[in-house]
């Protein structure tokens, strides 16, 4: 008689997981391909393969797009609903933009093209996990898979001290955040007796101090990732130190994933305790809006300014989480998409200028940009106006949606805070616009021959003719993002429809 130890493995929905697999496969492939030397491989093939895997993943996510509150797969560990896919697609698109922006970066060859892209894809895989986490363990694995490659990427410009400092700072503070989060998750498990979100929601006891302390610590840990004040202090330092394409990636994709998991954890697993955590998160949101906007005012560095602005935007986004309604989820998802467009666009311009101007990412680098290269100045202008929430840009509808969610969720004062914050934000957004269009060019223009047979390749320094053409891919990204910002600012309906789909992924909300 033979004893057959039957071990029943979990049923795996490969189709649903396919976007994740595509990214992971891409990560491993580029790491291996990157071992081959040669310019073509390093500069063309590796980025191409990385981009391809992201494109495939995006395609797969679109194909498997299915609205409604779907049952999580893998024994309830991972959701493959529209919230997960929607946020994943945002991360994929950001990843693609990062690859394009990094084509001429110094960070990529210094790390090794294969390694850099592999880390990027691994981090995106972590985001996919995080966006779909329906289980405390998945959540934590996602956070770590997201974070660890990012620590490395931040320090990837190894010959620049600030880059290393950024990586180290991010690592240390990130570890504190992770530890806090893990502690909080442990307490939640202890209180609810399960790691699955569905069961936590069922077993939640809002009067239990253990449970509430768990929420507080988990909120703190996640707030750290989303750069919500007062857990935001790493943001300006790290954003400024990291290679700019990494900063762009961090600013957009990390935030998207962090808010996805905030939405899922608070609006699903902890929904019953909303009256308890609502006011606390709302208070955090207001503090974040104020600190972010006020902190941005005195910045001379564009990257630091965008970092503080990112903090402020996190405060706005938190409003969508606080209310715990379907409208809140929709507004958050909508804003995250808009946030991608305007931030990637702005960072693209910063990258273009920082490689050319010789003044790094300081405000001086864009002085007189309007006259010198309007193809960069216009996207920057549009992105700044959109960040400030001007009508006819997508940012306007984003803020409008969030305020709508806050007001209909009985947090009118949060709506007021968003408006006041936006008013303050005009100070630093419009300054960028003013500097570009209204100050004289700092750089002496070389008086070259009037007619040339073909444009000279810029060797060093900066020339107005070469500027726009020198980095067509960076300019292209900036223009594309700005165009999309304007497009969705005038025709927001497609994005509204997607946001509505995303809102359907968590059932039982008001």
């Amino acid at each position: 008689m033979t004893l057959v130890a039957a071990m029943k493995g979990p049923a795996i929905d490969y189709a649903g997981l396919s976007p994740l697999f595509a990214v992971l496969a891409g990560s491993i492939t580029v790491l291996l391909v990157g071992l081959f030397p040669g310019r073509a491989v390093q500069h063309a093939l590796v980025p191409f393969l990385a981009g391809l895997s992201l494109a495939v993943a995006t395609g797969l996510a679109v194909v498997h797009w299915q609205t409604g509150d779907l049952d999580p797969i893998i024994e309830g560990a991972l959701a493959i609903d529209t919230l997960a896919y929607g946020i994943s697609i945002l991360c994929f698109v950001t990843g693609l933009a990062t690859i394009v922006l990094g084509l001429r970066s110094t960070a990529v060859p210094e790390t090794g093209s294969g390694e850099f892209h592999s880390l990027l894809l691994a981090s995106i895989a972590g985001m996919v996990l995080l966006a779909g986490a329906e289980d405390l363990l998945t959540l934590f694995i996602g956070i770590e898979l997201l974070s660890i490659p990012l620590y490395v990427m931040c320090g990837s410009e190894v010959r620049r001290a600030t880059s290393l400092e950024a990586g180290l700072k991010y690592l240390v503070i990130g570890s504190i955040g992770s530890a806090t989060l893990l502690y909080g998750l442990a307490l939640l498990y202890g209180s609810a007796g399960s790691t699955e979100f569905g069961r936590i929601a069922a077993a939640a006891d809002p009067g239990d101090p253990l449970f509430l302390t768990g929420i507080a610590l988990a909120a703190g840990g996640l707030a750290f990732k989303a750069s919500v004040a007062p857990f935001h202090q790493w943001t300006p330092d790290v954003y400024q130190g990291a290679p700019t394409e990494v900063t762009a990636f961090m600013a957009v994709a990390t935030k998207a994933a962090a808010f996805a998991v905030l939405l899922r954890l608070f609006d699903h697993a902890l929904a019953s305790a909303q009256p308890d955590w609502g006011p606390a998160l709302a208070a955090l949101a207001v503090v974040t809006i104020v600190i972010g906007n006020v902190g941005a005012i005195r910045q001379r560095s564009l990257k630091r300014m965008l970092a503080w602005s990112g903090v402020a935007q996190a405060g706005y986004l938190l409003a969508g989480v606080v209310v715990g309604t379907r409208l809140g989820i929709q507004a958050t998802a909508f804003y995250l998409a808009v946030y991608l467009l305007m931030n990637v666009g702005a960072f693209a311009v910063v990258i273009a200028r920082e490689r050319r101007s010789g003044t790094g990412d300081s405000l001086e680098s864009i002085e007189g940009l309007g006259a010198a290269s309007p193809w960069l100045a216009w996207p920057m202008t549009i992105c700044m106006l959109s960040l400030a929430g001007f009508p006819a840009t997508a940012g306007f509808f984003g803020k409008f949606y969030l305020i709508d969610a806050a007001v209909s969720g009985d947090y009118e004062w949060l709506g007021v805070a968003i408006v006041v914050g936006s008013m303050i934000s005009l100070v630093y957004y419009l300054r960028v616009v003013a500097v570009m269009w209204m100050s004289p060019e700092q750089v002496e223009l070389p008086s070259g021959p009037k007619r040339r047979l073909r444009p000279l390749k810029p060797v060093t320094g900066w020339s107005p003719e070469a500027d726009a053409r020198a980095q067509p891919e960076v300019t292209g990204v900036a223009i594309l993002m700005a165009a999309a910002t304007i497009f969705f600012g005038i025709v927001p309906q497609p994005l509204f429809d997607v946001a509505r789909d995303v809102g359907s992924s968590i059932a039982g909300l008001g």
């Binding site: 503070i173 504190i176 610590l217 004040a229 857990f231 100070v427």
Partner: protein, 594 residues
């Protein structure tokens, strides 16, 4: 309520459209030469054509709404063109002055339209005028109010007292602008308005009386000021106000044909005078003061002949265009008797003054000793002065918005001659359209518009004998005025200086234009400016900037400094804050739990 984009084509609007487009055409031709070296050449013609469009809209409008649009548009065009040389501070201020005064007029027009709409329920001319007889009794209070408000519009646009001060300052604009807008077309819009609204005024004779008095007073006032002003263009500008006074008297006395006839002949000879003045100013290298002119007869023969023709027409010298048109107004006015007879007699006296100042210009500019500029022009060169503001004598910024370095005058510019010659011809023969007892082409043409008028019947018209007598008196007045000018300026040079010294007070009073500007400064400008200063220092600086803006922005600034201070860059500091944050969060939840 529904307002059409209605256009009204009747003899009156066709007549106006013909005068406007005809004179505009000649002035465009003139401008191609006169403005040739101006840096704002394209801008000039853009504005000029915008004006023509607006003016045609004004005269062709079929209802009060469209009329108001055209009315406001010509005001805007006038503003743009007066301030055309925008580097001249005096020019921009003149533009603002004209615009403000015109807006007062626009307001009157809009309020009048509102009153009429309120009473008759219509805004189109046919509807309003058709309902006038049934809605209003004679001299109905509302109707008189509406007519007076219309009069406010007319007075502002036509530079009649008391809204007249802008026109003399409007001479800051380029000379073709003065010729077109501030002599021939726009300023006569008030006359057109009264003629167009004649059913209203006939039903409200009280308002018509007011209009007639305003016209007469302006006529006398402007003629008196024109006696002493030394700026060549300003003399013509005051003459324009005076002549429009005649027209207003004419149409208010319900002598529509005569008033519009004078409008037409005035357009010819006044545009001609301005063009001649432009030519002289060109030869003077931009100087406009008659004190510095003299003896241009030989240097500028063409300008001399055409300008003199214009002056003769203005002086209503027998057989010139102005002779017939002016006398027709006065004959009709006297024929109506009563108040109008008095006004008519005053008109004859003013005619003598007109003749005097017209030839004061001719004698001072073209006769007497040749000035250096005249000698230079005679040899085919233009004396170029350092650019200076003709009204203040200050040196000027020549960057942009300033006439170009070249000066043009008729003797050397075909375009200018091509525009002046036809006008000179018209100023001579324009009168044939309506010679008493011989022709009445214009009256006949306009008749359909005014057939509803009670004053078009034959019995309202002065008899032929009366008209001829009027012509004789008018001719005498012209001779008297010209003769006096000849005596004072040519046969006894220096006599005017003696007169000026003997009647210094009178001269000062006239030279300061009866102190209207000073009066308005005291009455309106100074209080407004004081209020504005109060608003700026107290409301704006202290309250808004200091408290409302300064408070929150100071708070934000302090916050920004604080945020930078906290952002030390040290990990341990960050970790500490993190700890505080976590502690706070945890504390909140624990308190919430209990």
């Amino acid at each position: 309520m529904n307002v059409d984009l209605g256009i009204l084509i009747d003899p009156l609007s066709v007549f106006m459209a013909l005068v406007v487009s005809g004179v505009s055409f000649l002035i465009h031709v003139y401008s191609t030469s006169y403005m040739a070296s101006d840096r704002g050449y394209a801008r000039f013609f853009a504005y000029l054509n915008f004006f023509v469009f607006s003016m045609l809209l004004l005269v062709l409008a079929g209802n009060f709404v469209l009329l108001t649009v055209g009315w406001a548009f010509v005001g805007a065009a006038s503003y743009l063109l007066i301030s055309f040389w925008y580097r001249r501070e005096t020019a921009t201020q003149a533009g603002i002055k004209a615009f403000v005064m015109n807006v007062i007029g626009d307001l009157g027009l809009v309020l009048a339209a509102f009153l009429l709409f309120n009473e008759t329920g219509a805004l189109d001319y046919a509807g309003v005028f058709g309902a006038t007889q049934d809605t209003f009794t004679e001299n109905d209070g509302t109707l008189v109010a509406a007519c007076l408000l219309l009069l406010v519009g007319a007075v502002a646009k036509s530079a009649q007292l008391p809204l007249h001060t802008w026109l003399a300052d409007a001479m800051e604009g380029p000379t073709p602008v003065s010729a077109l807008i501030h002599a021939a077309t726009m300023v006569t819009a008030g006359v057109y308005l009264i003629a167009r609204c004649h059913p209203l005024f006939e039903q409200a004779p009280a308002a018509a009386d007011v209009a007639a008095i305003v016209g007469t007073v302006t006529m006398v006032y402007a003629a008196s000021v024109a006696l002493v002003v030394t700026d060549l263009k300003r003399v013509i500008a005051y003459s324009t106000m005076s002549q429009i006074g005649y027209m207003v008297l004419g149409v208010s006395a319900f002598a529509y044909g005569a008033g519009l006839f004078h409008l037409m002949t005035h357009a010819f000879f006044k545009a001609l005078l301005f063009m001649g003045a432009g030519s002289v100013i060109g030869a003077m290298g931009g100087v406009q003061s008659m004190d510095r002119m003299g003896g241009f007869r030989r240097a500028l023969p063409f300008t001399f002949v055409t300008f003199t023709i214009g002056a003769l027409a203005l002086a209503s010298f027998p057989l010139f265009a102005g002779f017939f048109s002016k006398d027709e107004i006065l004959a009709f006015s006297i024929n109506r008797g009563g108040l109008y007879a008095v006004l008519g007699v005053i008109g004859y006296l003013a005619a003598a003054v007109t003749a005097f100042y017209a030839f004061r210009m001719v004698f001072r500019v073209f006769f007497g000793d040749e000035v250096p500029e005249a000698r230079a022009a005679a040899s085919g060169h233009v004396e170029h002065h350092a650019p200076e503001n003709p009204s203040t004598g200050e040196a000027e910024d020549t960057e942009v918005g300033f006439p170009g370095p070249e000066h043009h005058y008729a003797e050397r510019s075909l375009g200018m001659r091509a525009a002046m010659a036809p006008l000179a011809l018209l100023a001579v023969v324009g009168g044939v359209l309506s010679i008493p007892g011989v022709t009445d082409t214009l009256e006949h043409f306009l008749e359909p518009t005014f057939e509803d008028s009670a004053f078009i019947e034959a019995e309202a018209m002065p008899s032929e004998g009366a008209e001829l007598a009027g012509l004789a008196v008018g001719g005498l007045m012209a001779f008297a005025g010209i003769g006096l000018a000849y005596l004072l300026y040519l046969s006894r040079p220096g006599a005017t200086l003696e007169l000026r010294d003997r009647f210094a007070a009178v001269h000062r009073f006239l030279f300061n234009k009866w102190y209207f500007d000073e009066l308005y400064d005291r009455l309106f400008v100074a209080p407004s400016a004081a209020f504005g200063r109060f608003g700026r220092t107290v409301v704006e600086s202290a309250l808004i900037q200091g408290v409302l803006i300064g408070g929150p922005s100071g708070l934000v600034r302090a916050g920004a400094t604080l945020a930078r201070g906290v952002q030390s860059g040290y990990l341990r500091a960050y970790a500490l804050l993190l700890l505080f944050g976590l502690g706070g969060l945890a504390l909140y939840f624990l308190i919430a739990a209990s």
